[in-house]
């Protein structure tokens, strides 16, 4: 009974479920990528520590930026994304007349950006400050140091947490059905509404989410493994180092 209902649903509504999967993936993926970019920007600037060499104007701008960034992060991490979605969608509807899909992507991106900013910031704090000092001592500016030395390492440190945001977004994009985009949750809800097979429909939906997140974490694990093995031993094999003059031992012969 249960199984045959499931098969019926898959036969009849397969294409609308596929549309749901596609929308969910598009929203989750673009949301994660745009959120990461936003997080890099916000988290990167928040982590910059201006020293006395910076001008009073930069100190002021940095202070101003920090306040705005704090408000942004607090608000978007402290309220449900579902509420953010309805509020932002309707608040801006009269002004920019936007479609639902771009609205959904906008909301999930800035929501993710708030989390990414904190992820990036802690990734930055894990980078040895000695490297920052060395870069400054070579004459690199604050922002050159941040973007050439610190952030590339911070992204690597934070990669597991960044990947996790993608998985979370696959699941949490379901709340965006509140503004009726055709993602998986919305599709499942309409199928259940017309077939009245609630259990079967939501069972299938859960299964699809599980498959999506499993594939995503498999891919992320592979990337992470590959990133770690690039610390390869690229030393010339049998050659030894040609500077062997030992200053101290020479000294003792005298």
């Amino acid at each position: 009974m249960f199984i045959s209902n499931c098969i019926d649903i898959l036969n009849k509504y397969g294409s609308s479920l596929m549309l749901g999967v596609r929308t969910t993936l598009v929203v989750a993926l673009t949301g994660t990528v745009l959120g990461l970019l936003l997080g890099l920007f916000v988290g990167g600037f928040r982590a910059v520590k201006l020293d006395f060499t910076a001008s009073p104007a930069s100190h002021f701008l940095k202070g101003f930026f920090d306040v705005i960034a704090n408000i942004y992060i607090t608000v978007f991490r402290g309220t449900p994304m579902m509420v953010q979605a309805v509020f932002i969608y309707y608040a801006l509807l009269d002004i920019i007349h936007w479609d639902k899909l771009p609205a959904a992507i906008f909301v999930i991106s800035i929501n993710t950006g708030a989390y990414m900013a904190e992820i990036i910031r802690s990734g930055i704090q894990a980078v040895d400050p000695g490297q920052t000092e060395a870069a400054r001592s070579l004459g690199m500016s604050n922002s050159q140091t941040m973007f050439s030395v610190v952030i590339p390492q911070a992204i690597k440190n934070a990669f597991p947490a960044i990947g996790n945001e993608f998985i979370v977004n696959i699941k949490d994009s379901s709340v965006l059905m509140i503004i009726s985009i055709t993602e998986l949750m919305f599709q499942a809800k309409s199928i259940a509404g017309s077939t009245f097979h609630f259990t079967e429909t939501y069972f299938i939906e859960a299964l699809i989410y599980l498959i999506l997140t499993s594939i995503a974490s498999l891919i992320l694990n592979t990337i992470e493994k590959r990133m770690n093995t690039t610390v390869r031993l690229s030393l010339p094999s049998s050659e030894t180092d040609n500077i062997t003059v030992n200053y101290l031992s020479k000294k003792e012969e005298k």
Binding site: Q131, S137, L138, V231, R232, D241, T244, Y247, K251
Partner: protein
């Protein structure tokens, strides 16, 4: 005689209520090699770091290359002319050996990549690290790391090099390879200020040894004078203890 490359007058530095530099006067002539010695906590690193503005003194005057660096406009281009090597090497872990030497040149000197690479390979060759150019910096030994750090600093064409205990984090068998290179640089006439605990090196290579004690310069002079006939009791006691170690 030309005017000194570094001229420090009465600099003071506090960390909170702790006074680390209590009025230091100090100068370095072009081509001089100075070894800065003293007990842990005497302010050697702080003095060195004031010279390239990694720390800002609370008072006093520092003139380097004839300009007052405490009121300088372009700090980054000033710092590019002053090389610094650290105890912990501080190589960039996201770049290989060659990129460590090329990247800062591209960012600061704004020269072409070809030119920067050529210069980097020249200095890597000088420190015996050319064949490790493509190695990941996390996989090379401490002595090799410090040699790369020296090459990286030399790529910026510094007119002055600062070393803060460049061999203190090294295993004993690697100390020699780094000191050998520093000695070579000294012989080539590069102006250097070196904080070190290697007394043999200080005696052999430096033109002048400066002994710091409790935030002040207690005594300075040629290595011969300081090691053989120190004027101050404290200097004598310190050097005696360090040499017999």
């Amino acid at each position: 005689m030309s005017e000194p490359i570094v001229e420090i007058k009465d600099i003071h530095k506090h960390y909170g209520s702790l006074e680390v530099l209590k009025g230091v006067d100090f100068s370095v002539n072009e081509g001089e090699v100075i070894c800065l010695v003293g007990r842990s906590g005497s302010g050697k690193s702080t003095l060195l770091r004031c010279i390239n503005l990694l720390e800002k003194p609370d008072g006093g005057i520092i003139k380097v290359f004839g300009q007052d660096i405490l009121h300088i406009k372009n700090i980054n281009s000033y710092r590019a002319q002053v090389g610094m090597c650290f105890q912990q090497f501080n190589l960039f872990n996201n770049m290989n050996v060659l990129e460590n030497c090329v990247k800062p040149q591209l960012k600061v000197l704004k020269i072409s990549k070809a030119e920067a690479t050529e210069k980097a390979l020249k200095f890597l060759d000088k420190v015996g690290m050319k064949k490790f150019a493509s190695a990941d910096v996390r996989t090379i030994s401490g002595g090799q790391k410090q040699r790369v750090a020296i090459a990286r600093a030399l790529c910026m064409n510094p007119k002055l090099m600062l070393f803060d205990e460049p061999t203190s984090a090294l295993d004993p068998e690697m100390v020699g390879e780094v000191l050998t290179i520093m000695k070579e640089l000294a012989n080539e006439g590069l102006t250097m200020i070196i904080v070190t605990h290697e007394m043999n090196f200080a005696r052999d290579v430096s033109d002048r040894v400066v002994f710091m004690d409790q935030g002040r310069i207690e005594e300075e002079g040629t290595p011969k004078k300081l090691f053989n006939n120190p004027e101050s009791e404290r200097t004598a006691a310190f050097l005696k203890a360090s040499i017999n170690k």
